[in-house]
């Protein structure tokens, strides 16, 4: 590729550093950072905060899943919490029938996949608000089913779930719950990061931004949507499994429309389309009420929380990650990368 390779004065002609080479050290740094942050709660926090941290882990898994569906594939779902509910209630039913956490997890993944297939097929032709609506319908039907199967699911009243027992780990202990949740959360994160580097991940982006362009290069739009739906449902299901095991109690309102909306809030506030954003968003949603408790004003959150949410969303329209990125860019800009800035 020499000869006519163009060199225009304003473009420069150096070869790009197209991703290669820095993979391994970068991966190691990321793993190290993750490990360090993960070590903070058990080492520094009391039981209550370790419990909250475990909740963050569960919600992070759910948010990562929704981010794959919404942030990357552009498919709006208002039933993501319902899929968490599918996971949580499957866990409950399995647990009451005497199955252990490993079998529960296997069942959760299976049931989530089936539920997602059932929902995604009528939604294939839909996008945007319409899709959101069908998913919402699914959520309502699920809530209705739970309310009307009291013997199986505990109904409106909710149900208390036996804690996970993994050897000597017992998830009703906050520390144990945290350690148990850490593993799936780390795996879910690793897969989500990896997804961004695959053709599957790019198909999703293409479907999100222009279905016509996606088709023009041969992307199977419908199949990509279904795949995203399935992956996100499994994430949600696993999150529901964790949630049930960590909190030990589940009820229909945990998985209702508002719960789904909050997951959506987590994706958007964190920064749609990014793994880090999903984590930050989940942390915001879980921990923000606690900040008020910490300040000694637990009953203030419902009053100020809404305003705070609106303000944060307006101040960081690209999510917390977007804010960080802008700051970073400005710092770099000040250092003066003249060729980059025009």
């Amino acid at each position: 590729m020499t000869g006519t390779t163009m060199t225009r004065p304003r473009r420069g002609g150096k070869n790009p550093t197209v991703g290669k080479g820095r993979g391994v050290p970068r991966l190691l740094t990321r793993v190290a950072v993750f490990a360090v942050i993960a070590a903070v709660p058990p080492l520094l926090f009391d039981d209550y905060w370790v419990f909250m941290s475990a909740q963050v882990l569960a919600f992070a898994v759910a948010t990562l899943g929704l981010d794959i569906l919404y942030g990357r594939t552009g498919q709006m779902s208002l039933a993501h919490a319902s899929f968490m509910g599918v996971g949580a209630y499957t866990t409950y039913v399995m647990a009451t029938n005497g199955y252990g956490p490993a079998m529960q997890l296997a069942a959760v993944i299976g049931v989530a996949l089936i539920a997602a297939l059932v929902v995604s097929v009528p939604t294939l032709r839909l996008s945007g608000m319409r899709l959101a609506l069908v998913t919402l319908a699914f959520g309502e039907l699920l809530a209705w089913a739970i309310r009307n199967t009291t013997d199986l699911t505990g109904g409106t009243q909710g149900a208390s779930v036996d804690p996970f027992l993994f050897g000597r780990l017992d998830s009703s202990e906050p520390l144990h719950a945290y350690l148990i949740a850490l593993v799936p959360a780390a795996i879910a994160t690793a897969f989500a990061v990896h997804l961004g580097r695959t053709q599957l991940g790019r198909r999703m982006l293409a479907v999100r931004d222009s279905e016509l362009a996606a088709e023009s290069v041969g992307v199977a739009v419908a199949r990509t949507k279904v795949t995203a739906f399935l992956i996100s449902a499994v994430y949600a299901g696993v999150a529901g499994w964790l949630y049930a095991g960590i909190t030990g109690f589940i009820a229909p309102p945990d998985f209702d429309l508002f719960a789904s909306v909050y997951l959506f809030v987590a994706v958007v506030i964190g920064g749609a389309g990014t793994v880090l954003g999903a984590w930050l968003g989940a942390s915001y949603v879980v921990l923000m009420p606690e900040v008020f408790t910490l300040a000694g004003q637990p009953n203030l959150y419902p009053i100020v929380g809404g305003a705070l949410l609106a303000i944060v969303a307006l101040v960081v329209p690209d999510g917390i990650v977007g804010l960080g990125r802008n700051v970073w860019r400005r710092i770099r800009g000040v250092r003066g990368d003249e060729e980059e800035s025009k």
Binding site: R8, R10, G333, S341, K342
Partner: protein
């Protein structure tokens, strides 16, 4: 006279114009030329008030820099053909032509349709169903309907067949001779030189030079300097 004095423009935090000075007298055509990304479109947007700007934009000695876009357009008789047409794809052809126009302007609709016979009979179709060239005609039609004093054209020939381009430039020349001031963004210097009285070369958001199109040596020099193409 449409006058820009040391106009700077920003997109968010990135600056695109670094002090542009420009004058478009009535009855004259001024062509803005420059490479891709030089800031031609941004200059037009600055006149409309559609980017964040500093500096002064004056029309007939009234400073309009503080006015919102719709006031600039309505009060000072400016019309624009946007880069990439700027049509409202959900609206019909007729609605696209007449949107925002006042009663007197709307009365001129037949005049405009005469100019573009291809649009006749399709006025109630959604514009998104027209071919690229037909869409460009709608964009031009919308500007001409307003009978502006100053007409801003951003690459009006983009995607048009030569036959239509010729037609359009002929019409613009006629309007110009009737006293309209035209600020034209044009990719082809040759074409710009043939229709404009003055060429303004933009470079990285500043005016590099202004030349009279009568001076063909200067035009050649400009082509050579700015675009690195030697004839």
């Amino acid at each position: 006279m449409l006058t820009l004095e040391s106009v700077k423009g920003w997109y968010g935090s990135t600056q695109a114009l670094f002090g542009v000075n420009l004058r478009v007298p009535p009855g004259k055509t001024v062509a803005l030329v420059g490479t891709n990304g030089a800031g031609k479109t941004t200059t037009l947007r600055a006149i409309l008030g559609a980017v964040r700007t500093e500096g002064s934009v004056r029309v007939d000695d009234v400073d309009i820099s503080a006015k919102p876009t719709h006031r600039r357009v309505n009060d000072h008789h400016i019309a624009v053909v946007h880069e990439g047409r700027g049509l409202l794809s959900q609206l019909s052809v007729l609605e696209n032509l007449t949107v925002g126009a006042n009663r007197a302007q709307r009365a001129r609709i037949d005049e405009v349709l005469d100019l573009f016979p291809a649009l006749q009979g399709r006025t109630h179709q959604k514009v998104s169903l027209l071919s690229g060239g037909q869409q460009q005609m709608v964009a031009l039609g919308r500007a001409l309907l307003r009978d502006p004093k100053y007409l801003l054209l951003d690459e009006p020939g983009l995607g048009l067949a030569p036959v239509v381009i010729d037609e359009i430039y002929r019409y613009i020349a006629e309007l110009c001779s009737r006293g309209m001031g035209v600020l034209l963004v044009e990719q082809s210097v040759a074409r710009a030189a043939s229709v404009a009285d003055e060429l303004v070369l933009l470079r990285v958001g500043t005016v590099d030079r202004v030349i009279d199109t009568a001076d063909s040596a200067q035009v050649d020099q400009l082509v050579a300097d700015a675009f690195g193409v030697h004839h």
